[in-house]
């Protein structure tokens, strides 16, 4: 930025300068509090993530009442159970069946169910995913190494600022009698976005 940088001084990139300027102004005006900013970052780096969604899915697999509540109103079911944190947005759970596989996208930007999955992976935010999943979901699935029977239809759900989606994948066969915790270990992030399937019980490495 300046052309008189001293070699023994420090340097901030243009983008770092922009963010620091923004934060300083908003802090001085009382719009943001640096302590709160740190708490927000910590929350997203350590507290929320796909492990939360995996527990929700596992619960739905073992508890039919929770499952039907989840499909009726995911925000309410998850928040009221008191076990998975609160859901601050309107969340809809969509259930995979042998007849229908669900995939989630945000074609506008990157709306994503943060409270249950954390922040989205890079590919979710990329233009190729955002545009292609709508036009040709089956080939996107193939990119992710997933092939569905031709008899399984695919429905793509476009998220909005107000409505987010969580895919409830099908419980893998051969997991009868498994504990919730063990079942949750099979639930991958991608399986809750619809670009993947849960891990198979035999394929577990640990």
């Amino acid at each position: 930025m300046s052309d008189h940088d001293h070699d023994d001084g420090s340097h901030l990139s243009e983008i770092q300068l922009r963010v620091r300027a923004l934060e300083t102004i908003l802090t001085e005006k009382g719009y943001v509090d640096p302590t709160v900013l740190d708490q927000i970052v910590e929350h997203f780096e350590t507290k929320v993530g796909p492990h939360v969604g995996a527990k929700v899915v596992a619960r739905a697999w073992v508890d039919p009442t929770f499952r039907s509540n989840l499909l009726a109103d995911a925000t309410k079911a998850i928040t009221e159970s008191g076990r998975f944190g609160t859901i601050g947005e309107h969340l809809i759970a969509v259930e995979n069946t042998p007849e229908q596989h669900n995939m989630v996208v945000c074609t506008l930007c990157s709306c994503y169910p943060w409270d249950v999955l954390g922040l989205p992976p890079v590919w979710y935010k990329s233009a190729p995913y955002r545009s292609r999943v709508v036009m040709d979901p089956r080939s996107v699935l193939a990119d992710f190494g997933v092939t569905l029977p031709p008899t399984t239809g695919i429905r793509v759900w476009d998220s909005t600022a107000e409505t987010r989606y969580l895919v409830l994948p099908q419980r893998p066969a051969g997991t009868e009698g498994w504990s919730e915790e063990r079942l949750a270990s099979l639930v991958t992030r991608d399986s809750m976005i619809g670009t993947g399937l849960p891990a198979q019980p035999g394929a577990q490495t640990s």
């Binding site: 963010v19 300027a21 979710y124 990329s126 190729p128 600022a161 107000e162």
Partner: protein, 131 residues
């Protein structure tokens, strides 16, 4: 710069990001700060989430129109553009003030020995040389 078009597969977009980076929530501290500022302002009711999504969507579209391959790795740059615009639009600050503070931070960095924390001081605003 390569001639990447937005037509690659989602997997290709993913494969361009080194594995270690993929696993992290934020690639750089500034991304986390820009993200947190936005959430904090929304929590304070400065804007609705719908307003935010519209602003971000607009920036992403504009970047694509400029030829950004939009593979997801420039996402927080769009994010920063959007929050700056929205904050200006809401009258919380203006472009001139943002620029004045950027220059002040630049001076603060210049006078801070490498490795020390950079702290903004009143002198960083005074007598700003306009080169």
């Amino acid at each position: 710069m390569t001639n990447e078009t937005p037509s690659g597969t989602a997997r290709e977009a993913l494969d361009r990001i080194p594995a270690a980076e993929r696993a992290r929530t934020f690639q750089e501290p500034w991304e986390a700060q820009a993200f947190a500022i936005t959430l904090a302002l929304h929590q304070r009711g400065v804007f609705t989430w719908n307003e935010w999504a519209t602003a971000l969507g607009k920036e992403i579209k504009a970047a694509q129109a400029r030829g950004d391959p939009d593979t997801g790795s420039t996402y927080y740059l769009h994010w920063l553009n959007a929050i700056e615009r929205l904050v200006e639009h809401k009258g919380l600050t203006n472009a001139a003030t943002l620029q004045r503070y950027r220059e002040a931070w630049d001076r603060a960095a210049d006078r801070t020995p490498h490795g020390d924390p950079i702290v903004l001081a009143p002198e960083d605003f005074a007598g700003g040389s306009t080169t």
